[in-house]
C-alpha cells in the first residue's frame, strides 16, 4: 500500500464532506447495502444462530491456528500446490515477484485482494516490470483512476457513473462510442478484461477462507472474475493471511452463511469456489502451478491479547455500511486500505497507533458496527481501548489532552461544573454562527436549561416515586 495517511483523517474528512460527487456516490451506497442486508436477514429463520455457528467455527480455528496452518500446508502440497510464508508485506511482495519471474510471466490478471492492497502488491509488481490488470470491476476502475479502494467490498463506491465513463473514454479506444448507461460501462469492461483473462500468464487472487482438512481455498465473488483469474492463466497465486484458515468444509460453510448476507444482502454470492491444487492429470483446464502465500504482518501478535477478536473479521463491510462516520466521509479519509470501524481498529494495530492517531476517535460510539458484525467483534470496546492506550502513551494532540485534563478537573468540582455548563450554553447561543469552520454544522444549545438544573428540579418527583 502506498503510505498510510491516517493521521490526516481530519483534513481528509473536511475535503470529503465538501466533495459533492463523493457525497452523491455515498448516498447511493448506504441505502442500498443497509436495506438489502436487512431484507436478507429478515428472510432467515434465526440469524443469531447462524452468527453463533460462524463465530464458533472461527473461535475453534483461532485456538488451533498453528496446527491448522500446518495441516493446510500439508494438504496443499499433497494436492500438488506450494505454500509460501511471509512475515511482512515486503516478504509477500518479494515472493510473488519471484514466482512471476520464475514463471516467465509478462501479463498478470488479478482478482480483488485486501491482502494485496495491504501489501501494496500492485506497485511492487509494476516496479518489477510486470503488466498487472485488476479484474474486479471496482478495482479495475480505481486502477485506471490510480486511487486506492474506498470500501472493502465495493472499492469504487466513491465513483459516479459519469466519472467511470470519463475514465473509460480516457483509457479505452472508444472512438465515437458513448457510454451512457451502466450496462454500457459494464459491457465495455467485460470485453476489455475478457481479452486480459485469455492472455494473462499468471492469475493472482485473494482468498476468503482456507480449509485445513483438504487444503482448499475459497473465493467468493459476484462477477466471476476470481474464478476466471484462477482457472485460465497457467499459474495461480493466492495471496492471503494466516487467520483465514478454518478446520473443515463444514466450518467454512458456517462462515459463508453469514458472509454474503452481511456484505451484499444475498443469501449466497453468485460464485463461491473452493480451489484445490493445480490442474489434474486428465483435466483440460486449470493452472499448472498453484501457490498460496500466507501473510502474518502482525496478526500473530494479536492472538491472546485484547485485540484477538479483530482476527474474527471476515471483511464483509457491514460495519462500514452502517457507520455514521464512514457514511459521511467515505473510505479515503481513513488514509489506509481498511476504512470504517474495522479499519479504525485494524489500521492502528497493523500500522502502529502513532501512525493512525485520529482513527480510534473517528467514532460516535453509537454501537451499530458491533450490532451488525456477524462475527461478534466488539468494535466500540476496542476503539475505547485504543483511546486509552493513546492517552497513556500521550499520543493525542496537546489541545486534546489539555481539554481532557480540564474536563476531568472540572468534573470533580460540584459547584463549578454546573456554572461552566451554564456558561457553555450561553456561549453557544450568543456566539455568531460564522465562527464555526466552513462545512461544519453549528452545535446548538438544546432544551430550556442545563441537564444539572433539570436534574435537581426533578429531584422531588424522584423522591416521591421512591427512586
Amino acid at each position: 500500500m502506498t503510505g498510510c495517511t491516517a493521521n490526516q483523517f481530519v483534513p481528509q474528512s473536511e475535503t470529503a464532506l465538501q466533495d459533492s460527487a463523493l457525497q452523491q456516490a455515498l448516498s447511493h451506497a448506504q441505502t442500498g447495502f443497509v436495506k438489502k442486508r436487512a431484507q436478507a436477514i429478515a428472510m432467515v429463520d434465526d440469524f443469531e444462530l447462524l452468527k453463533f455457528k460462524a463465530q464458533a467455527a472461527k473461535r475453534n480455528a483461532l485456538s488451533n491456528l498453528g496446527e491448522l496452518l500446518e495441516q493446510f500446508e500439508h494438504k496443499v502440497i499433497e494436492s500438488g500446490g506450494q505454500v509460501h510464508w511471509a512475515g511482512t508485506t515486503d516478504e509477500l511482495n518479494a515472493c510473488v515477484v519471484t514466482l512471476c519471474s520464475e514463471a516467465n510471466a509478462q501479463r498478470v490478471i488479478k482478482g480483488k485482494s485486501m491482502i494485496g492492497e495491504e501489501a501494496g502488491l500492485n506497485s511492487a509488481m509494476e516496479a518489477a516490470g510486470f503488466e498487472l490488470i485488476e479484474s474486479d470491476l471496482g478495482e479495475y476502475i480505481i486502477q485506471l483512476a490510480k486511487e486506492p479502494p474506498s470500501h472493502i467490498i465495493a472499492p469504487a463506491i466513491h465513483k459516479t457513473r459519469k466519472q467511470v465513463a470519463a475514465l473509460f473514454k480516457q483509457y479505452h479506444a472508444l472512438g465515437d462510442r458513448g457510454l451512457e448507461a451502466i450496462s454500457d460501462l459494464v459491457n465495455e469492461a467485460r470485453s476489455v478484461l475478457r481479452e486480459a483473462f485469455l492472455t494473462a500468464d499468471v492469475g493472482i487472487t485473494g482468498a476468503n477462507l482456507l480449509v485445513a482438512e483438504n487444503g482448499s481455498i475459497a473465493i467468493v465473488t459476484n462477477e466471476g472474475n476470481g474464478d476466471l483469474s484462477a482457472t485460465l492463466p497457467r499459474v495461480h497465486i493466492v495471496v492471503t493471511s494466516i487467520e483465514k484458515v478454518v478446520a473443515t468444509m463444514e466450518d467454512a460453510s458456517d462462515i459463508l452463511e453469514v458472509l454474503a448476507r452481511s456484505a451484499t444482502g444475498q443469501h449466497m454470492s453468485a460464485y463461491t469456489t473452493f480451489f484445490n491444487g493445480p490442474k489434474r492429470e486428465r483435466d483440460v483446464d486449470g493452472p499448472t502451478e498453484f501457490h498460496v502465500v500466507l501473510l502474518d504482518n502482525g496478526r500473530s501478535a494479536l492472538l491472546d491479547g485484547p485485540f484477538e477478536p479483530m482476527l474474527n473479521c471476515i471483511k464483509c463491510g457491514a460495519c462500514l455500511n452502517h457507520c455514521p462516520v464512514y457514511s459521511n466521509v467515505g473510505g479515503h479519509a481513513y488514509g489506509w486500505v481498511y476504512p470504517g470501524p474495522m479499519g479504525s481498529v485494524l489500521t492502528p494495530l497493523l500500522q502502529g497507533l502513532d501512525a493512525a492517531e485520529p482513527l480510534p476517535n473517528a467514532s460516535t460510539f453509537c454501537g451499530r458496527c458491533e450490532e451488525v458484525c456477524p462475527m461478534g467483534i466488539p468494535l466500540p470496546a476496542m476503539l475505547r481501548q485504543l483511546r486509552e492506550q493513546q492517552h497513556q502513551r500521550k499520543l493525542e494532540p496537546f489541545t486534546w489532552r489539555m481539554g481532557l485534563s480540564l474536563y476531568s478537573w472540572l468534573s470533580t468540582k460540584p459547584r463549578m461544573f454546573p456554572y461552566c455548563q451554564w456558561l457553555l450554553r450561553v456561549a453557544l447561543k450568543m456566539l455568531p454562527k460564522r465562527l464555526w469552520p466552513a462545512g461544519r454544522k453549528p452545535i446548538q444549545a438544546q432544551g430550556n436549561s442545563t441537564f444539572m438544573k433539570q436534574w435537581s428540579q426533578q429531584s422531588d418527583k424522584r423522591s416521591q416515586s421512591g427512586e
Partner: protein, 217 residues
C-alpha cells in the same frame, strides 16, 4: 527467498500460545443423515437469485429442452457441451455439427468455442442446495470449470434426486460419493453480476449473463 525462515517464525509465535481449547465434537443434535429437499423450494430460491429453471423427465429430454432454449433465444452457435454429456448429445443429433465441427468435437482446449467467443455451454451439476438456491458443480475431465464461467449463457443439468437442503448436506453427499477433492468446487447461485457502479445490479459482469437450471427426473 526466506519463506522457510518466515514459516518457522510464524509457527513459533503460534506454538507459544495458551493451551488450545479442546475442539468441540459435532453436536449430537445435528442430524447425520443427509436431508434432501424438494425441487420446488430449490427452484423458487434459485429463481430469486436470477436464474431460470425448467424441468425435464430424462437427460435426453433435458438436452432437447436446452436446444429449444437456444432456438427460442436465438443463440445460434452450437453450444459447447461438457465432455461428460457429449456422447449422449451426439447420439441425439440435436445440432448439425457434421459440417463444421464433427471432426474437432473431441474436446480440444484451443479450438473450443468456449474459449474466446462461445455463446452457450451445457454442463452437469453434482447437486443442488435448496436453502440458498445454489448448484454445486465439480471440476473434472468431464466437467471443465471454465465452461461455468466463459460462455455468455450457462445451462446446467441437475438431477432431482441430488437436491439437498443445505450446504452441510452437500458436503455429506460429497463425502459419501468418496471422490478425491476436485480441483474446483463451484457453488453457483445465479448469473454473474456486479453492483460496482452506483450500486446498480448489472448481470453478466465477467461470467454468464444468464443461468438456466434444467432439473432432470
Amino acid at each position: 527467498m526466506n519463506s522457510n525462515q518466515a514459516r518457522s517464525d510464524i509457527l513459533r509465535k503460534l506454538a507459544g500460545r495458551r493451551s488450545p481449547e479442546p475442539t468441540p465434537s459435532p453436536s449430537p443434535n445435528e442430524p447425520v443423515a443427509i436431508q434432501f429437499s424438494s425441487a420446488d423450494e430449490f427452484s423458487a430460491n434459485i429463481a430469486n437469485n436470477g436464474a431460470l429453471v425448467t424441468f425435464a423427465s430424462a437427460p435426453k429430454k433435458a438436452l432437447q429442452a436446452a436446444k429449444q432454449l437456444c432456438m427460442d433465444n436465438e443463440w445460434r452457435q452450437p453450444p459447447v457441451v461438457c465432455p461428460a454429456l457429449q456422447t449422449l448429445c451426439r447420439k441425439l443429433r440435436l445440432w448439425d455439427w457434421e459440417s463444421e465441427r464433427e471432426r474437432e468435437w473431441e474436446w480440444e482446449w484451443e479450438s473450443s468455442d468456449a474459449r474466446p467467443t462461445g455463446t452457450v455451454a451445457i454442463t452437469q451439476a453434482f447437486c443442488g442446495i435448496a436453502d440458498t438456491g445454489t448448484v454445486l458443480c465439480l471440476s473434472s475431465a468431464g466437467n471443465p470449470t471454465s465452461l461455468n464461467f466463459l460462455p455468455e449463457h450457462h445451462i446446467v443439468l441437475l438431477e432431482k434426486k441430488q437436491i439437498v437442503a443445505g450446504k452441510q448436506d452437500a458436503w455429506r453427499l460429497l463425502r459419501n460419493a468418496a471422490l478425491d477433492t476436485p480441483r474446483a468446487i463451484n457453488l453457483i447461485s445465479g448469473p454473474s453480476r456486479t453492483a460496482d457502479i452506483e450500486q446498480t445490479i448489472q448481470l453478466g459482469a465477467h461470467g454468464p449473463r444468464s443461468l438456466t437450471v434444467i432439473i432432470v427426473g
